[in-house]
Symmetry: C2
Subunit: 162 residues, 2 copies
Amino acid sequence: MLKLTKRTEYGLIALTHLAQRQGEVVPAREIGDRYPIPRRLLAEVLKDLCNADLVASTRGAHGGYALVRPAQELSLGEIVSALEGAPTVSSCGDGDLLHGEHSCDVQSICPIRSPLVEIKDKIWQMMLTTSLASLAQPHKPYRPLASQTQVNGSVKSSIESP
Amino acid sequence: MLKLTKRTEYGLIALTHLAQRQGEVVPAREIGDRYPIPRRLLAEVLKDLCNADLVASTRGAHGGYALVRPAQELSLGEIVSALEGAPTVSSCGDGDLLHGEHSCDVQSICPIRSPLVEIKDKIWQMMLTTSLASLAQPHKPYRPLASQTQVNGSVKSSIESP
DNA sequence: ATTATCGGCACTACTTGAGTGCGGATTGAT
DNA sequence: ATCAATCCGCACTCAAGTAGTGCCGATAAT
Ligand code: SF4
Ligand code: SF4
């Protein structure tokens, strides 16, 4: 199901918090103190972010975490990628078929492989061009990608017939 | 992890096959005959598509399935929605908070809820405006969304600094 | 009657995700 | 030197979702 993991969401929350205190070293306790996130899990996530070099850690008494780059230069894509790997959409990566991992039997004759890779790229591109800063701003102006009519509950196609 | 289920992929493959024989009634056996998909699973998926009124079924000896609408008017969004529910991105739906399901403790003060809903809408919008027909065309021209540098292994952000 | 097809229910095995436990290492304050 | 606050690392349990299967009944053409 097309959904982010909770770890990623917690990571994003933590990062927005760090973004607000840009430059400062913030202990994990403070974050877990403000948001009802399982502390232990939060630590785990921050560790992952640290391993991915998105935040820097300082140990010891007055230790904590800090963004390694300003929030404007941190992309959602990087964060997601660090916490749960890049989006895949299809079960077979976009790896050059014929080599390596035969994750799917259909692969050689799959009619939807290539189109799905395109969709993945679009999603991925969107995430790479979305900065943490724009996430942190509570009510940002909303810059639509294309014509953006509100879409919610009921599903009825509205495709431009070519 | 941001990925479609295999059921959905199988459904898409089946639908592209039906699209090629638009108007005809095609038995599930034929599809499972062309693609190495577990037959039994394929049947399950087609059943779901039938329940969602995306395909019509005919029972009996010369029975089978047929698209209920031309492929140009069938959106990827509808298909995904029928097979695994609409994309959610965040664990909490976009349901009006304060009511109903408290799927997440952070909900009331979550700083990323609203931004994630926006992203979900963009993805959703993309899927709603992508027709089955465009998926079925084997090698379509590839229309990039923006500057599309290949993104794979290593992730380095490339955000336009505003 | 026979055969090919869909329909429905329920079931198992596997993978992933959420969340936890515990002890150790580092650093600053006393 | 001691203590307290913090990060670090590994491994573990439990729940949920996904992949895939079995079986038999209902329809309808021949
Ligand atoms: S080959 Fe086709 S079906 Fe198999 S995983 Fe890739 S896209 Fe999905
Ligand atoms: S409230 Fe925030 S953290 Fe909880 S699910 Fe919704 S978006 Fe994710």
